[in-house]
């Protein structure tokens, strides 16, 4: 796939191309050993959560849709790690990672997917509608591209209130062809709104490969049509994602300049649980599985010598137990009462 190399010497590794030169704010602040380990823990927890969800779906515990994030974990973790804890984020329906990494416990997350009263949205949202407003995670949205103007609005409000926040608004590559997204891009640049549109390019819009749904396939270039910064970067490496996210986040925060950040990722599982994956080969999937974002960060942490193998195994063991306990807790939780049908409609 052809890409225009406009990378400046200052661009961090992982950046493939950009429509404008990147600003030079120096390196992103160092992550402490503990913080780094915590991001690894959240990536590992997300992976294990979804492996359990996969089983639960197959045994009929989860109804409706279930879109797994397996393979894309470095996107949510790397971008979130570049943000302040109270910067707003919003995404589409592939939202398990965004929810878990913004404070929804695996228990309430499982419970939501199992339709229980203890779910993070009381069983009214399901897999596609995870919300944790307390931690500035604003959903969890079902209509492709429909959340783009909402993310714009969160950022607009933060600027209006002079809060110095940036909103990261996520979408899949399939969303770039929706009108609402383009209207949001124009407004973002026109009104100088501190929002970064993160395109999680996993190469498929459901079963339609990006070459078959987008002209051009370099999705970051769509920013150029709005005089906006557009960047394409690799996204299987947590540190690389964090570095470029910090630059674009700070640019939005300091200069009210929006951007598109196209992150090149891959989902190891199907679009949803009902996807037979006839549109891609096992060879392709196996090739991408060689660069597993969870393992890449694990190896890097171990190679750094600051954490030993015993410590990381202990952490993983605790996560696996937490997932098992959370699943059991969710299963033991009650279903919502019928009267709940009529609550939370009006404030």
């Amino acid at each position: 796939m052809a890409t225009t190399k406009t990378k400046t010497p200052a661009a961090p590794s992982g950046v493939i191309a950009s429509t404008q030169p990147l600003p030079d704010y120096g390196p992103a602040p160092e992550l402490t050993r503990e913080k780094r380990l915590e991001w690894y823990r959240l990536m590992y927890l997300t992976r294990k959560f979804e492996e359990r969800a996969y089983q639960s779906y197959q045994t009929g515990l989860i109804g409706g849709f279930c879109h797994l994030y397996n393979g894309q974990e470095a996107v949510a973790a790397g971008t979130f790690a570049a943000l302040h804890d109270d910067d707003p984020v919003i995404t589409a329906y592939r939202d398990h990672a965004h929810g878990l990494m913004r404070g929804i416990g695996p228990g309430p997350a499982f419970a939501e997917m199992y339709g229980r009263a203890t779910g993070c949205a009381k069983g009214k949202g399901g897999s596609m509608h995870f919300f944790n407003v307390e931690r500035q995670m604003w959903g969890g949205h079902g209509i492709v591209g429909g959340q783009s103007p909402l993310g714009l609005g969160l950022a607009f409000a933060a600027k209006y209130l002079d809060r110095k926040k940036v909103c990261f608004s996520y979408m899949g590559d399939g969303a770039v062809n929706q009108g609402a997204f383009h209207e949001a891009l124009n407004l973002a640049q026109l009104w100088e709104i501190p929002v970064v549109f993160v395109i999680e390019n996993n190469k498929y819009s459901m079963g339609t490969a990006v070459e078959r749904h987008a002209a051009p396939v370099e999705l970051y270039k769509r920013a150029a049509g709005y005089d906006m910064m557009g960047v394409r970067a690799e996204a299987m490496d947590f540190d690389e994602v964090r570095e470029i996210s910090w630059i674009l986040g700070e640019r939005a925060r300091r200069e009210n300049q929006p951007a598109i950040l196209e992150l090149m990722t891959y989902r190891f599982r199907g679009h949803s649980m009902s996807d037979p994956q006839t549109y891609r080969s096992k060879t392709e999937i196996d090739e991408f599985r060689k660069s597993d974002p969870v393992e890449i960060l694990r190896d890097r942490i171990l190679a750094s010598g600051t954490v030993n193998a015993h410590e990381i195994e202990d952490l993983e063991d605790k996560v696996r137990k937490e997932i098992a306990t959370a699943h059991e807790w969710a299963l033991a939780s009650p279903y919502p009462r019928l009267s709940e049908i009529y609550t939370d409609i009006y404030a």
């Binding site: 779910g119 919300f131 959903g139 103007p149 409000a157 209006y160 209130l161 609402a180 407004l187």
Partner: protein, 324 residues
């Protein structure tokens, strides 16, 4: 009480609420420098500045969604549609996001937003610009829908809508913007969900709303000459609808004619007729009749258009049939 034009009542409501609450802002096409396509925001840019009175590009989905996001974060936006016919371009934002995000989040989010603008036919602006969509939006739980007919309610309902913590659609009408009527002095609010009895009567009940209120009042002059005393109810609020007031009136008069500008199929009058038929079955002495727009897109020619929205002749005819 002073008499003012409906459009000035709309402007006064926005100005008073913006004065009161710095979180309130207005955006939409032509709302700032142009003073509003229908001059409903005249002078507001000068008074409140470009941070709060913001001209939007022609991007209904974009600016509606932006306003919904801003409301989620704590602002209180007023999004103006130049006409509610254009709101269909933002349909997904209104019905999936504004109406349902609170529910889907298990009550974590409030969306205090007002969508307002002109609606309705009768101006030879063709089928795409002439929709009366209050019945459509009223079908979505999570939305409130009000349709002011008079200046007092144009102001009082809009002020209530701006203070409401839910999405409220305030559906105005082009034919009414220039019409003057009395507005109370000083601060007041018109409650959402409360109908207004425009005239008490005993021979039948006429339930109406919006521009049709004026048409019904005109028809009433002929009814009075015929000795027919109609009880005329202006619903003002379509969702929630003031069923107790409607039921009490029908139980008193035993007859009902519904008049409104939505389409006949699944329109507001259809809903009123169904509910009254159920709740007042034993009290009815005649079939319920409806005078609505017709089952056709709005034609351009005035020779045709005048017959497509409720007019005096059709109202009088229906009343005569019901009281016969």
């Amino acid at each position: 009480m002073a008499k003012i034009a409906y459009r000035d009542a709309v402007r006064d409501a926005m100005a008073e609420e913006m004065e009161r609450d710095s979180r309130v802002f207005l955006t939409g096409e032509e709302v700032a420098q142009y003073n509003g396509a229908y001059k409903c925001s005249k002078g507001l840019l000068d008074k409140f500045g470009p941070k709060r009175i913001i001209d939007a590009p022609i991007s209904e989905a974009g600016f509606s969604g932006l306003c919904i996001g801003a409301a989620m974060y704590g602002l209180r936006p007023i999004a103006e549609f130049m006409t509610f016919s254009f709101s269909f371009v933002a349909f997904d934002q209104i019905v999936n996001n504004a109406a349902q995000i609170r529910y889907m989040s298990g009550g974590q989010i409030k969306i205090p937003i007002v969508f307002r603008g002109n609606s309705g036919g009768g101006h030879q602006i063709g089928a795409t610009h002439s929709h009366a969509p209050e019945n459509i939006y009223a079908t979505f739980p999570g939305l409130k829908v009000v349709v002011p007919a008079f200046a007092a309610d144009a102001k009082g309902l809009l002020k209530s809508a701006i203070r409401d913590d839910n999405p409220v659609l305030v559906i105005e009408n082009e034919a009414l913007y220039g019409r003057e009527s009395e507005v109370p002095d000083g601060e007041y609010l018109t409650p959402i969900g409360k109908a207004n009895i425009l005239q008490e009567g005993r021979h039948l009940t006429i339930v109406t709303h919006g521009r049709s209120c004026w048409t019904v009042l005109e028809a009433n002059q002929e009814l009075l000459k015929m000795g027919i005393q109609a009880e005329i109810i202006d619903l003002r609020s379509i969702k929630p609808l003031d069923w107790p007031t409607v039921f009490a009136s029908v139980r008193k008069t035993h007859r009902l004619v519904c008049v409104d500008e939505t389409k006949p199929f699944c329109g507001v009058s259809a809903q009123v007729a169904a509910e009254v038929g159920r709740a007042c079955f034993d009290h009815l002495d005649a079939p319920i009749l409806r005078v609505t727009s017709v089952e056709a897109p709005m034609p351009f020619s005035s020779a045709l258009e005048d017959d497509c929205i409720p007019n005096v002749a059709r109202i009088v005819e229906a009343v005569k049939e019901v009281v016969a």
